[in-house]
Amino acid sequence: MLLAAIIFLAIGGFSLRAQAYFVQSNWLSWGLSPGSVVEPYRLTHYSPLAITGIWLVITSIGLGLALGVRHFLIPLFTRTWPFLLHRSASRQMILGAKLTAATIAFVVSLGSVWIGLYWYACRSELFMVPPPVRVFIEGWLFIVLGLVVYLGTAMTALSKARWYTTKILGLAFAMVVICMIFLQWRLSWALAMVIIGVVVLLSQIIDTFLNREF
């Protein structure tokens, strides 16, 4: 979690700083000459946080995978589930603790860094125009994508099927959700996709975890 935060902060901050220099010099070289038709694509611009966004997606998905494996797959390999389940805590409590820990990990390690980077990009001495609020929301959507991957990994780890049959469906579904979100231009649709993805995965994780034998 700490590692993810450090990686994202270092790369995101560095790319933002580099982008600040590039954008300042690039804006003056726009090819707009009097008496000419302007190609409309020249009027669309990547946000200064574009490279940070790529790293946010990578870190978020990576963190989701790592946490999912750590929380649900490694105890299967090390056969430590029975030790955990035979404590005085109920299964619901154990599952709730794991899911809460993962959510906090995403909010603290990536969310706080993302808020910091966005705030930094909004300072007028860096960029002439502050990045749109839409970019900030999209960033949070990327963080939630990591949570979807975490749930997909958990679903895959908890499934008792074979790897080459339906065990991988949890992760495959998480990938489908990610692809569908990256096809959207409306934030509301993207949010709806995330909610559907989380509900579908979470309901199965709860059912499997409470009923399966370890």
Partner: protein, 537 residues
Amino acid sequence: MKLIDSSKHVAGPTKIFMTVLILLIAVGVLQVFIVQIAILWQTPSRAAPMKPKKVSDQEKHLEKIRNSAKQFLPEGTIHLVYEFSDTPTFSPDDQKQQEVYDANGSLLWSGLQKNRPYEYLSWTEVPSGNEKLDEQRMKQIYTITPEFSRPLEIPVRSREKIQQVWRYDPTRQLFVGYRADGTNIGYIGSTGFTDSKSRAKPFGTLKMFTAWCPQGSFSPTLLWQTSKRVYEINFEKQQVQLIFESTKENIKQMSLHKWRDIRPETPQDSKIPYQPLIMCRTEDNKHHLIMKNPDEKMTVTVDDDWWCEALSFTATTQDIFLMRPDTERRVPSALRKSPRLALEWLRKVRSKPYKQWIELYRVDDQGELNLLNRYDWTIPARPGSVVEASPPWLKVKHYACQFSSPLYDLTWYLLGGEFRALSSRDNDLISGFADMVRELRPGNSILNWLLALAMAGFVFRHGWPRQTSRPKLIFWLAFTLVFNLAGLLTYLALNHTPIIKCSSCGRSRCLAQVNCLRCGAELPAPKRRKLDLILNT
């Protein structure tokens, strides 16, 4: 109800939804893969080289006339302008070798285009692909990507530096302005500039815009078309001018002629005193002409059977003209809704010669049309086979699509003619789904239903000994019929349990049910051993 109980009611349907969704995608990918392999595998059959047919001078001359551009002089005379095809492609327009014929085919002039003594009317044109950003492309730039969406930002700048930036907000459908120091200037909406967010009115859903820097300015001006309105937005002056508003019908097409204040595109048309013109065609096929210098507006109504997409207008200070090209080889409107019928019609008429014509009309002050000139020519029948054999990969596609869900057909028929519009409308998820349905639908084939029945039969055979309840088995039978191969795979993924031979009746029975389905006997208990006695006590 405990969480452990309630989770079952939600987890069951979500598991089926998740599995069938992934398997539908997997089956779709496999089908596309098979079709692509078939396309690659298909070796192109080379037609035997045709012997060059001897063409007489008369036929050569007629062909030249057919391939000529039909141009009109401002007084209405038609000229046929033939451009030699051996001119290098990248040579400037005025360096091209041309011949000009009159309507009777007599040569009037020959030479380089720049020396041509005639000046022809130029016409309204829809802004080309790289000159406009339409609704679809606008959605693309706002699509969520790992690099975030790309906002539309209009700079207001002097020669040296940017003074303001106006960013389009797609949610509020207006522009938000920023000064060079990052502070907010105000908002530009349909009612013009305002410094208050609450007073700013949205433009409406964008359909298309085109941008240009007027002569003497480094800042772009936008022609912004929404469903019912056209605005001209000048960010430098912070002005919004409503150019056109349709009260009832949506605007279907917008084309321009000399409207944008840019350097002359061709030196040839500079002598004709044109009036800047915008033509807006609404869904009721009315053509609304908006002119400036001086400001004028006019509505022209044409016959319903005219090829409205091909009509062009132009306005000079004296007259307004309409050019109407048309052909006999235009699919009748009744057949246009069905691609199959349209293709059949085209195949029927393919072997016959057909007429093309072009007409020039003068539009009077009341918007009435007066025919000035008309020119007809005949296109000969295409030699060779009348009906092309369908390529083999189409057969592969036909068979591959038989494994698709019959639901695709149902969706296709329910949406009907709107389907094509759907595939280019709304968000990419819907258009992607529409494209997938169109390409992979089984076409209501008997084979598709037979396959679905066979799969349902397999499910019945497989599920009968494994059933835990009758409604569940019926559900899976119906599910397989509806989703075809994806349904069968979903059933197998979620219901495959081992079976044993019943110790009582000797027939197959599942382990999930305590009593045998056939004889009602319980599952065999292991023989009692000494240790069991201790455990029981």
